[in-house]
Amino acid sequence: MRRLTLGFFILLLFSQLAFAQWESVAAISVITSAAMLGLLYMIGFGFGIHELILSSKEEAYQLVVVIAMIGGLIIVQTGGDAIFGAMAGYSTTIQDTAKSDADAMITNLASEFGVLATLENDVAYQGSRSLSCTLFTVGHTISGCGGYSMVSPAISGVEATVGLGIAELSSLSRLMMIGKEYSFLLLLPVGIILRTFKITRGAGGLIIALAIALYFVLPLMIITMFGIADQFKNSSAGASYKAGLPSMNVIECVPQDTDDGTGEGTNPGRAMNILDQMIAATPQYIFAPLIYGIITPAIALLGTIASLRALASISGADIDVSALSKVI
């Protein structure tokens, strides 16, 4: 068994001279499957064991499925990028485009987070100010800036949304890195090897499905969803969702001012001014984290996991993969 394993890996090493990594593994797996089913059929035919003959016919069907899958992957891998580039006007691969889009959005959200953090600092500082006046232990304290404290929770909520958006997009970015770096280098060859043998066919099918889902489906979902969001933002309906970071002017609070009016010269009026600025800037600073950071990754992940189940079923591993949806 050890020599067989060693011989298999030596064969893999030399096969890389002729083909790409996973294609040589696929070729060896096809040859191994064909040899195994041939042996099964010969033994079954020779000894009249019908179960073995049926088993070899089932193996032949699985071999045809594997060859079709490998052919499809080669076509999509070599032609997919060219077709996509021609359709969408991109000169890079699907994977690079999707990852760079996600990384660029992470950078945007991080910048937005910084702006919001500065805003919260300023607003909270103003809201915490109070004036005290005491003379020989007799005096009073005035907290005229309480109106500002209503603005801080709203900013905190947006900060949390932006932070979660960064986390969601980062998880997608990491999955796309796995797909781009390791799908064809590691996952697909291992999956094909495992699928060759009947005992490990289930696991091999799942790993093949994972490789295809991370390499093709996830980047396509990201590009599609981002494209929809971009189209909306560039349309007349999305004109208010301007690009760029929001800027707001925090008017200084006067702690000793206890005027209860809402005019411009009063503390409540100053707080309302900040709130009005926030409401006006809401389309700007909420659109990106909610649409690009929360909803788009959720839909992209749901689509990827759904495709993972379908691909796993085709590859011979019909199993419930809903446990992976908890990443959302």
């Binding site: 890389q16 004036l131 932070g163 770096e181 005992i199």
Partner: protein, 351 residues
């Protein structure tokens, strides 16, 4: 129980499991032979069919057991550096077998999740301390009373503190997922699953207990072979453990502070104050000095912490779940081969 690749495991297999399997096989053979003889004597076609079917299935079951033992010994002899060389991946300084590679992946992912947790916790604690800071500046009549403005200069950290709380929860789930997967692997490595095999041999050949035996053998095969192998494959993905804090530094006077080391220091944030008299809170009259005392160069890293928590979740929760699902898929396929259906996908929903 002993470690699967240790010398004692061979003794466990050949002195414990194999004799038990042999006894089970002999007992099953005796039952099948008795059924056949009784079926012939009473001209019972059902018993004849049963005994003929089991006479074919029993060698298949025994062959499966021998296959498992052979593959386990292969797993213990495969050098993962050789496998890495096959896939053109950089080799590690210390070579290890398949089970060792699987364990090191889960160790690394648990450490990665713990680093994310510590980073979020540190900043959460720092924000908590800074939020409590209140400054009062006396501006007039200071000799006869106190009159002036008071403010909380760091009250704007509330939102970030809430975010760190959420990231701590996520990182905690990642850590528990990695530990859960590690405990399952150690349980598998202990060899306890091998005890299922003799039971599986006997019960698979018995009427009405066939499903029971098939499931035992399928579970033993999938968790012994597929689960560690899948984790060993993931262990070759070196880029999984890159952190957004890698390489980040800042300058504090003449000192260069490495951000990752600063935020992931195990030292309690309060003891950091006591260990260095220069960081005494009472001496920090200026808010920026206090911020620099608890945050590297006065700067926090919430966006990078969110990224780190996400990366840790993928490495410590998502991929081990995939390994469990691969084992479940394999168990289903093997059980189907033995004639029964079993769905272990709910195992992956334990966390």
């Amino acid at each position: 129980m002993v470690d699967v690749c240790s010398a004692g495991f061979s003794d466990f297999i050949y002195s414990g499991v194999m004799p038990a399997a042999a006894v089970s096989a002999i007992a099953a053979t005796a039952v099948i032979a008795a059924s056949y003889m009784y079926g012939k004597a009473t001209s019972n076609p059902k018993l004849n069919d049963y005994s003929k079917t089991e006479a074919v299935q029993l060698p298949i079951t025994i062959a499966s057991i021998i296959f498992i033992v052979l593959v386990i010994s292969s797993f213990c002899s495969i050098d993962m550096n050789s496998v890495r060389a096959v896939f053109n991946l950089p080799v590690l300084p210390n070579s290890t077998d398949v089970f060792g590679a699987a364990e090191s992946y889960l160790d690394n992912s648990a450490i990665f999740a713990q680093q994310a947790l510590v980073t979020a916790r540190y900043q959460h604690s720092a924000y908590n301390i800074l939020l409590m800071r209140s400054t009062y500046a006396c501006e007039w009549w200071c000799i006869f009373g106190q009159s002036g403005f008071s403010y909380q200069g760091f009250s704007g950290y509330t939102g970030r503190m809430n975010l760190m709380g959420m990231l701590m929860n996520t990182s905690l789930i990642s850590l528990f997922s990695a530990l859960n997967a590690l405990f399952i692997l150690n349980f598998v490595k202990s060899g306890f699953f091998m005890m299922l095999l003799p039971i599986g041999i006997f019960t698979r050949s018995m009427p009405y207990l066939r499903a029971f035996g098939s499931i035992f053998i399928a579970i033993a095969m999938s968790f012994f072979l597929i689960y560690p192998a899948t984790l060993a494959v993931f262990s070759m993905m070196d880029k999984l453990f890159t952190s957004p804090l890698d390489g980040l530094t800042c300058q504090s006077g003449d000192n260069t502070i490495v951000i990752k080391d600063y935020l992931q220091n195990d030292e309690n944030i309060i003891s950091r104050d006591d260990s260095d008299p220069g960081l005494n809170i009472g001496e920090k009259l200026h808010d920026d000095e206090l911020a620099r005392a608890y945050l590297p160069c006065g700067q926090d890293y919430p966006a990078q912490t969110a990224q780190l928590a996400a990366y840790a979740f993928i490495a410590a929760a998502f991929l081990p779940t995939v390994a469990l699902l691969a084992a479940a898929a394999s168990a289903r396929y093997i059980a189907k081969m033995f004639g029964e259906e079993v769905d272990l996908s709910r195992v992956a929903q334990m966390v």
